[in-house]
């Protein structure tokens, strides 16, 4: 009941509303208490206690009040202060009141809090036969029809309950209040297992091929959300058929001082009264351009408010409606418009003038006092979703709105007020028909149900929009208080200024004035702007001007909702080898290589990376060391044409590789640039095992498949990724033979039996099957032991045991980098960057002269045979302790340091070398292979580091260490 604290709440006997009067909810806005009921929005609760004014406007600081009861609200914006994290720029009309809610009003700008948002956001991906957006009469009808036909249906609505505009009004369906029809429909849909109803769910976007994005709010209306429930959920819906029953938005009228608090949309006044049992004012003038506002007048009068006048722009409103309101006690003024309002923080009166046929003011005038002005400038069908995916709209002069150009067929079916149909019977009929058609097209043949008898809400005479009510004293170009976009404080005068620049397009005017760039994205302001522009340009209709572009999201949603659970540890999968936890236990520091975690080094005690790497390198070259190399890509290439295939892919020959042998392979893109490399083995006549770099594995497999499937389907070859099937370790160093011999007692690992680049299969101690190859990325005697993945841990532990008396040392990627660099072996992606050929790397020996291969033709292009191309070299700083930064550039010593300084190339890899007892680097230098011995400079930190260009092979250039110490 009305009470001193809630003067505007109407007695339940007058209006029940959709609120629960048995409980009170307490909120705080700007530090002041707001009391309301479950079912209230923050807006309705504030209105119930007489608070209409909100924060002043963004630019001009003008007093503002709540205008609407929906998502088009331009003024009543708040920052929510409670909840997991403060949230900016929410319209009070869309916030369900909850206990303990705290908010502060905003003047069009919000703020972000440093507080972390701990709420959870989920996603769901669903398929359905029919999705219906909007649970007003049309949408409910469509859902019923489709569901009765047997189709899977998803019904989506922004509000907490079904009903749409039926809940704003008082229509009867089949002789009973519409709420009963809604209730029965809701139960029928809830009981149907093939139907899912999503309330508090806004359809954000309509994407190609009937893909809809829906944002479901799950806990925002709860004072205490359940701890494990996500706050919001993003539904991805792929539907066979889409029915858009998205309704329509009432638009305001543009006249002088149309922004005064107390100016509200007529439908909003009705909504507050019928849904929330709130009378926003006691003395209301209604200013309308069409029939719909008469219902507002009748409802106001029925609730005990006075209606001094209904000001109608039309000369002849529907006689039936005029009679009704006059009988109820309201005075109707036709061919008239409100031209001014009075009042400071709340409207106190309006001034009305006559309008003649061309929209000019006549001499007739009158004034009315009021504390509420309910305006209706007409209705905008909510075509946003329809248009997002290429649906075109057209201006319909009869309904005075933009409607879909097509309403069915290949595109989504648009029904009800979303297509300009405003009579209830028509909405129901269209809904039933669309639902039945959608079900039929989905394979569930069904006919539309019959339309029940409806009363109320019938359209009579045509609307007469007046886009720009003339000012009494000023020409339109100086109408600085005629607001077109309230949130942006943008006026008719601003629009004139835009066109004075020469702008004619609505797109330009929008950007120039910022009209429609606020939260409503034009839902409340857009069509009025188009109408005003049509006036300014003397266009034949708003249709000639057209609209700006409709884009997702339909309504603003938090970025975190789109991020979902892709946060923190779940941002990207972590790939680990079977031995990973053993490396963790050993204190390894890890590096990200693609999605893999690879041990970078294993510090002992207080070692930093520098110290650890020197120790690991020394162990590898003087004793024995072990690395987990399970991450290397492995691809089995099988088939009678495997040899031919590899010859086409690799720059060097593989068809004639003997079974039982391995070979380093280099592959290029068709443009001749190095793509990937690795050691590949021939397991049988028709079977190879290719190795790739860790990061290149997936890319290379895709590459192989693309050639096989799209160019050479005649080749009988199959490729299978087996990276995950193998675990592998590299055992490296003079003592590696001893260790491997202990691991594989059945295998003859002597120098004579086990040659370089050969492999053997055997069983390790304990029966572990293994393939062991002699390959070396370090230049030392080395073996690679491969076992089925599930033996990985056992292999690592066995290796560590087998080498324990030899001081076996685990090493990581950093040491691996140093060892290979000392031998001049490149790392694709580090010493190459997609612009480097094998010839640039000095690998002519790998570039076959006999056979064609992918990339060969490109190698003879003019730029690839340029004699000043960058070539791989070694770099030795004159000062043996200076470490060149990777990425630094080389310049001639004698060129000016005045930019631009010509650069010769850059440092690709740079390390301290235990073996060389000095620093060294690899780089790509112009004409590098001709410049060994030259001294150049690397400018670093303002000084020049002197560097000698050398061969990239620094250590053991004859390669004698590869076979290990001589065996007696």
């Amino acid at each position: 009941m009305t009470s001193p604290s809630n003067p505007n709440r109407v007695n339940a006997s007058v209006r029940a509303g959709r609120i629960d009067r048995t409980r009170t909810l307490n909120a705080t806005v700007d530090g002041r208490p707001v009391h309301g009921r479950p079912g209230d929005t923050l807006a309705s609760a504030m209105l119930a206690q007489g608070d209409i004014e909100v924060a002043p406007s963004i630019q001009l600081g003008r007093p503002r009040g709540v205008l609407s009861a929906d998502c088009t609200e331009p003024n009543a914006l708040v920052q929510l202060l409670d909840g997991a994290c403060p949230e900016p720029m929410l319209p009070t009309t869309e916030i369900e009141l909850r206990e303990g809610l705290r908010a502060e009003t905003l003047s069009g700008v919000g703020w972000l809090s440093q507080q972390r948002d701990t709420a959870g956001y989920d996603k769901k991906f669903v398929h359905t036969d029919v999705v219906v957006v909007g649970a007003g009469p049309s949408g409910i009808a469509a859902s019923l029809a489709a569901a009765r036909g047997g189709a899977r249906v998803i019904l989506v609505d922004q509000h907490r309950e079904l009903g749409g505009m039926l809940l704003d009004g008082r229509a009867d369906i089949a002789g009973h209040p519409a709420t009963e029809w809604i209730g029965r429909a809701a139960r029928e849909l809830a009981e149907n297992e093939q139907v899912r109803v999503l309330t508090r769910s806004a359809a954000l976007g309509y994407y190609d091929h009937n893909y809809l994005l829906v944002a479901e709010s799950r806990t925002d209306h709860m004072a205490v959300p359940p701890p494990s429930t996500s706050r919001q959920r993003l539904w991805h819906v792929r539907a066979k058929q889409v029915v858009l029953a998205t309704g329509a938005h009432e638009r305001p009228v543009v006249f002088a001082d149309n922004d005064r608090p107390g100016v509200m949309l007529a439908s909003a006044v009705r909504s507050y009264l019928n849904r929330y049992a709130v009378l926003p004012g006691r003395e209301a003038v209604v200013f309308t351009t069409s029939d719909s506002a008469y219902s507002t007048a009748l409802d106001l009068l029925g609730a005990g408010a006075r209606v001094p006048a209904i000001v109608d722009t039309r000369p002849e409103p529907s006689a039936r409606l005029v009679e009704q309101v006059r009988a109820a006690g309201a005075h109707v003024v036709t061919s008239a418009a409100v031209v001014a309002t009075t009042g400071q923080h709340r409207i106190s009166g309006v001034r009305v003038r006559g309008l003649d046929d061309d929209g000019s003011l006549t001499g007739w005038s009158s004034e009315f006092s009021c504390d509420l002005l309910a305006v209706s400038g007409g209705w905008n069908p909510a075509v946003q979703l329809f248009a997002q995916c290429g649906g075109a709209v057209r201006w319909d002069p009869v309904v005075a709105g933009f409607v879909p150009r097509t309403t069915g067929g290949r595109s989504a079916k648009v029904v009800g007020s979303a297509r300009g149909t405003y009579d209830l019977a028509g909405c129901l009929a269209q809904g039933f028909a669309a639902g039945a058609e959608a079900a039929t097209l989905s394979g569930f043949r069904t006919a539309p149900p019959p339309v029940p008898q409806v009363d109320g809400d019938r359209q009579g005479s045509r609307p007469r929009p007046v886009w720009l009510v003339p000012d009494e004293s000023r020409p339109p170009e100086r109408c600085t208080e005629h607001f077109v976009d309230l949130q942006r404080d943008a006026t008719v005068a601003d629009m004139y200024r835009a066109t004075e620049t020469g702008m004619r397009s609505v797109q330009h005017v929008k950007r120039y004035t910022t009209i429609s760039t606020g939260l409503d994205q034009g839902k409340g302001s857009g069509v009025n702007a188009v109408g005003v522009l049509a006036e300014i340009l003397a266009a034949n209709s708003p249709g000639e001007v057209g609209t700006t572009t409709f884009r997702p999201p339909y309504t603003p949603v938090p970025l975190a909702l789109f991020a979902g659970r892709t946060r923190g540890e779940l941002y990207d999968p972590v790939r680990t080898t079977p031995m990973h936890h053993l490396h963790v236990e050993a204190g390894a520091v890890f590096e990200d290589v693609g999605q893999w975690k690879r041990a970078r080094y294993y510090p002992r005690g207080a070692e930093d990376m520098h110290a650890a790497v020197l120790r690991e390198c020394a162990a590898a070259r003087t004793g024995v060391a072990v690395q987990d190399v399970s991450t290397l890509g492995r691809i089995e290439i099988v088939g009678p044409d495997a040899p031919v295939f590899l010859d086409r892919i690799y720059t060097n020959g593989f068809a004639k590789l003997a079974v039982g042998k391995a070979r380093y392979g280099m592959m290029c893109g068709a443009d001749g640039m190095v793509l990937d490399d690795g050691v590949s083995m021939r397991l049988a006549e028709d079977r190879y095992l290719m190795s790739t770099t860790t990061g290149g594995a997936a890319k290379v497999l895709d590459w192989l498949e693309e050639w096989l499937q799209t160019e050479w389907p005649d080749l009988d070859v199959y490729c299978t990724s087996v990276t995950e099937q193998w675990a592998a370790v590299a055992v490296v160093g003079p003592d590696s033979r001893t260790v491997v011999g202990r691991l594989a007692p059945d295998l003859d690992v002597s120098a004579d039996s086990f040659g370089f680049m050969r492999f053997h299969e055997t069983s390790l101690t304990g029966g572990i099957p293994a393939r062991i190859s002699r390959v070396s990325f370090s230049g030392e005697l080395a073996f690679e032991v491969n076992v089925p993945r599930w033996y990985g841990e056992a292999l690592w532990e066995a290796t560590m045991t087998a080498g324990s008396d030899l001081g076996i040392t685990p090493y990581g990627t950093e040491t691996m980098h140093v060892l290979r660099a000392e031998k001049g072996f490149v790392i694709v992606g580090q010493d190459t960057d997609g612009t480097v050929t094998p010839v640039d790397l000095g690998m002519d020996w790998a570039v076959s002269k006999q056979k064609d291969f992918i990339g060969k033709r490109s190698l003879s292009r003019p730029d690839l045979v340029r004699e000043d191309r960058k070539q791989l070299v070694g770099l030795l700083p004159t000062d043996t302790t200076t470490l060149l930064p990777e990425g630094s550039h080389l310049v001639e010593p004698d060129v000016s340091r005045q930019p631009p300084v010509p650069m010769l190339g850059h440092v690709t890899s740079s390390y301290h070398s235990a073996a060389l007892e000095r620093t060294f680097a690899l780089g790509l230098i112009s004409r590098g292979q001709q410049r060994f011995g030259d001294v150049v400079c690397v400018p670093v930190d303002g000084r020049d580091v002197e560097v000698e260009i050398t061969s990239p092979v620094f250590y053991d250039p004859e390669g004698v260490r590869r076979d290990g110490p001589a065996q007696g």
């Binding site: 630019q59 919000g110 200024r497 938090p558 970025l559 941002y571 730029d863």
Partner: protein
């Protein structure tokens, strides 16, 4: 509305809406940023004013209206550094020269590195920038936090290992840049012909004598194409084949917020780039939709991926609201570098292939393209960017520095 900086101060005339003449010395196809800048520099540097810029839609309504407004010159290769930094130096003088406020804010750009190889690549780029006279610094994570306190550097799946920092980089309000250029051009007599689509050319042997439009021909002594994603639709009519692929490129903005994000941040690995506009909205973007497309709309998973990246890097953004997503059509080349230069038709010139990075080059592209059109020869800065490089193999591979997934 007061002139608060959100819109330019009154009063002003930006452009006339003339009917086209029958002939012009120069016809430029496309009134985007590059088309406008080209017309401007043709007039300013070369004294040519008998110019029509013909635009199928509304002036600067293509990618110029849709980009994420980032301006920087920190590209890797010598040719790129020279081209983009020349543009940046022009930017630094442009608002004064045009006498038009477009909120050019040199608030700096951070390009983040999240793996060891990204660190190497980033340092390589920064070292090269320095030697090329382009400002560049390498920052550690602690230093990054001082520049951008709201950036999450460590609590990430791929922590930030460092970043390059170009202080002279920043943002500008794209629409205002376009209008400032248009106003000056219009003052100098350049005709803007809007809502007129060029559909082909009138030729005479190996010369182009005019453009065909959807409502009649316009004669031209020289023609410059600045049609971005729609370039091949025109060049195909002449049998001139360019290595361009047109893709949707999406971007998005939030509602307006109090200042919270002080600079521009770009990450390849946690892929998103973002800044806060003068008006207060957060502006974000990332990679192209990988399918070819002219519909100027993209797929939602691309948006989700970049917002996941954004919220990871900027936890404070979690409750900012996505207000609007949109897309343009970008013309992508195999080396992520533009094509600027002559064509086999002696008086037809093309400026295209800027892909995802054209806005930052706006005045620079206009400068060199104007030179090319006026003299018939490339300017030294766009000499490496001719279409011949795809024959010779002298590509200018800037995929890394482009900082946009392709």
């Amino acid at each position: 509305m007061v002139a608060d900086g959100n819109t330019p101060a009154p009063p002003e005339r930006l452009w006339r809406n003339p009917e086209p003449k029958r002939n012009y010395d120069v016809v430029i196809v496309g009134a985007g940023g590059h088309g406008l800048a080209t017309a401007y520099y043709l007039a300013r540097n070369h004294g040519l004013t008998d110019i029509a810029v013909v635009e199928r839609g509304w002036l600067a309504g293509g990618n110029m209206a849709r980009n994420t407004t980032i301006i920087r010159s920190n590209y890797l290769l010598d040719a790129s550094a020279a081209l983009y930094d020349h543009a940046l130096r022009l930017w630094e003088e442009l608002h004064e020269e045009l006498d038009y406020e477009f909120h050019f804010s040199q608030r700096g750009v951070l390009n983040l590195a999240h793996t060891e190889q990204e660190v190497r690549d980033a340092r390589r780029r920064a070292f090269a920038n320095e030697l090329n006279g382009v400002d560049a610094e390498w920052l550690t994570p602690d230093e990054i936090s001082e520049v951008c306190p709201i950036l999450n550097t460590s609590n990430l799946r791929y922590p930030v290992l460092g970043a390059t920092y170009q202080r002279r980089a920043g943002i500008a309000k794209h629409d205002l840049v376009a209008w400032g250029l248009a106003r000056k051009c219009d003052e100098m007599g350049v005709d803007f012909i809007q809502n007129r689509e060029v559909t082909g050319f009138v030729t005479d042997g190996d010369r182009v004598t005019g453009v065909r439009t959807d409502s009649g021909d316009i004669g031209a002594g020289r023609v410059g194409l600045a049609a971005a994603g729609r370039t091949t639709l025109l060049t195909d009519t002449l049998g001139v084949r360019l290595p361009l692929q047109s893709h949707p490129l999406q971007a998005m903005a939030t509602e307006i917020l109090e200042p919270v994000h002080p600079c521009v941040v770009m990450s390849n690995h946690v892929h998103v780039y973002t800044s806060q506009a003068h008006k207060g909205e957060l502006v974000l973007g990332a990679g192209v939709d990988t399918h070819n497309g002219y519909a100027q709309r993209g797929s939602v998973h691309v948006i989700e991926n970049q917002l996941a990246a954004a919220v990871e890097l900027f936890p404070v953004f979690a409750r900012a609201h996505l207000l609007r997503t949109w897309a343009g059509t970008v013309d992508v080349t195999p080396d992520a570098s533009p094509i600027i230069g002559p064509t086999p038709y002696e008086n037809l010139f093309v400026n295209c292939g800027w892909g995802t990075g054209g806005f930052k080059a706006t005045p620079g592209a206009g400068w060199v393209f104007a030179h090319t059109i006026a003299t018939g020869e490339p300017h030294p800065l766009n000499e490496p960017y001719g279409m011949e490089r795809f024959t010779s193999g002298a590509l200018i591979d800037e995929h890394g520095a482009a900082a946009v997934a392709h």
